[in-house]
């Protein structure tokens, strides 16, 4: 029996890619293993120790609080921050892309605020407002600006002949906005969401570290670190990475789906 690779076969291609991913991750784990042995330090646990810590965290939680509770606390804050950014950035971006004078008015304000690292806001929001809403606002900032700039860009990138076509079909300003500009900005909005979710997830983990009595994964990992529980710390890194991959792949899937629906693959 012989196997012949056929690059036109979808399953063969998928299989090949899966194989490459497996090999790549294996190389990574092996390299980590070698480093942990060479370093001979408790700070870098071996993959086996980390795996054990991961299992025990998922089974028993940490400090009497279940793993699910830490994870859901972070995801909830993340989702809240995202929703707030979405409901503010999308309409604002559409309006700013549509109205030149308003855009000129708001752009300086945005340009002053945008370069501030979202994490710079963390102490302000967390100590200044509250431990609960603070991290959520940091996520909001992290997602808001990439989303806003993408939406504005999307409205500006609109094909001028689509606008002409709509006008010759009798479009009012309102129609131009609802029937042409908003729909043609949707793929850019999706791209903004994708970028924003990536930034937002980094923000939530970091922001939670400021919270001395939080439940999130960020709090959890910093507490483990302080207590020298290195295998658990590494296990948390894996969880954070997995959740990050999950959110970005979800966003990527959504983006592809929407682009297809909008006829702009």
């Amino acid at each position: 029996m012989s196997f012949k690779y056929d690059k036109n076969n979808k399953y063969h291609r998928l299989g090949k890619n899966a194989l490459i991913v497996v090999v790549s991750l294996t190389v990574f784990v092996l390299a980590w293993w070698v480093v942990s042995i060479l370093a001979h330090s408790t700070v870098i646990p071996t993959p086996i120790k980390t795996f054990d810590a991961l299992i025990s965290f998922l089974q028993d939680g940490y400090l009497g609080i279940s793993a699910g509770r830490y994870i859901s606390a972070s995801l909830t804050l993340f989702l809240k921050g995202f929703l707030l950014a979405f409901v503010l950035a999308v309409p604002l971006g559409l309006i700013l892309g549509f109205s030149k004078s308003l855009n000129t008015f708001v752009t300086p304000i945005i340009e002053v605020l945008r370069p501030i690292a979202p994490m710079a806001w963390a102490p302000v929001f967390i100590y200044g407002i509250s431990y609960d809403t603070g991290p959520m606002l940091v996520v909001f900032i992290g997602i808001f600006f990439p989303l806003l700039t993408n939406v504005i860009f999307g409205v500006k990138k609109i094909d001028p002949s689509l606008v002409d076509a709509a006008l010759t079909l009798g479009a009012s300003k309102f129609h131009l906005f609802t029937k042409v500009m908003a729909p043609s900005a949707i793929p850019y909005i999706m791209n903004g969401i994708k970028v924003g979710l990536g930034v937002g997830w980094m923000c939530i983990v970091a922001a939670e570290m400021y919270n001395p009595r939080g439940f999130g994964v960020g709090y959890c990992i910093s507490d483990m670190c302080f207590n020298g529980l290195w295998p658990s710390t590494f296990a948390m890194l894996i969880i954070i990475a997995a959740l990050g991959i999950l959110t970005t792949s979800l966003a990527e899937y959504l983006q592809k789906y929407v682009s297809k629906r909008m006829g702009v693959e």
């Binding site: 076509a165 709509a166 079909l169 009798g170």
Partner: protein, 274 residues
């Protein structure tokens, strides 16, 4: 399909109805100057023409001479520097569905299906859903796309896309159809098919059409009259009447002679002397 019932709708704006062959579009002393800081470019100078109802007028001229500028002013997308344009008695100061436009790059909404694209104008005019669907289906069948009415735009070939573009404009019963190099993005074979299709539509209606083209062959094949423009600033160089019935034989001596004449005239304009 293109019967009297459609035509009534064109005149429900309280305007006088025009019979085929009557002067219908008046363009007088039309000029367009583009101003930018302290430089001025005169694009169109003193362009006047009367167009009859049911006529197909082509405008040909050297590249970049401002053919499209004239069309965009009729569409109301661009304001003339001076001069007046009236279509069916109405001034063309802003765009509207009474002057349907067909674009070289199709300008279809990719997120809408074929039928939804054709319905767009009626949707914005508040035509009830049932009626809108019925009329859209009628025009989709005129352009021969019944099987594709629910298709997405990116599933269509270039020729099919432009047929959607034509149906989208015609469904609103425009007084005039403004076609801006409509077949310029298509391959030669599709182009010929589209020209034949347009002739069929002309046979069934008294649709007035202003047609911008690069192709002299296309202009001679389709037009009742051809307006030849000079290079910038564009003025009317010559207006040629073509009384021959359609469809026309591209190989006939008259056809080739006229084509050569126009090409020669354009050649003189294309001399690089500045």
């Amino acid at each position: 399909m293109f019967d009297g019932s459609n035509k009534e709708q064109t005149s429900d704006k309280g305007s006088v109805s025009y019979a085929e062959g009557e002067d219908f579009i008046h363009i007088e002393n039309l000029s367009k100057t583009y101003k930018r800081d302290d430089s001025e470019t005169v694009a169109i100078e003193d362009f006047s023409i009367n167009i009859k109802k049911g006529e197909l007028i082509s405008i040909v001229g050297p590249s970049g001479c401002g053919k499209t500028t004239i069309l965009r002013m009729i569409a109301g997308l661009l304001e003339p520097t001076s001069g007046t344009i009236t279509v069916a008695g109405h001034p063309c100061d802003k765009p509207g569905p009474d002057r349907g436009m067909v674009f070289q790059d199709f300008a279809l909404m990719p997120w809408r299906s074929v039928i939804k694209n054709v319905e767009l104008g009626m949707e914005m005019a508040g035509v009830p859903k049932e009626e809108r669907r019925k009329r859209a289906e009628e025009y989709i069948s005129i352009v021969g796309l019944e099987k594709f009415k629910d298709a997405r735009i990116n599933e269509l070939s270039g020729g099919m896309k432009q047929r959607v573009g034509i149906a989208r404009a015609l469904v609103n019963h425009p007084d005039v159809l403004l076609m801006d190099e409509p077949f310029g993005a298509l391959d030669a074979q599709t182009r010929n098919l589209m020209q034949a299709g347009l002739i069929k539509i002309l046979d069934k209606t008294d649709q007035t059409i202003i047609f911008i083209t690069h192709s002299v062959d296309e202009a001679v094949y389709l037009s009742d009259r051809i307006v030849v423009l000079t290079k910038r600033p564009a003025k009317i160089k010559e207006i040629i009447e073509i009384p021959w019935p359609r469809p026309r034989d591209r190989a006939s001596p008259d056809f080739t002679a006229l084509r050569k004449h126009i090409l020669d005239e354009l050649e003189k304009e294309n001399v690089l002397d500045d």
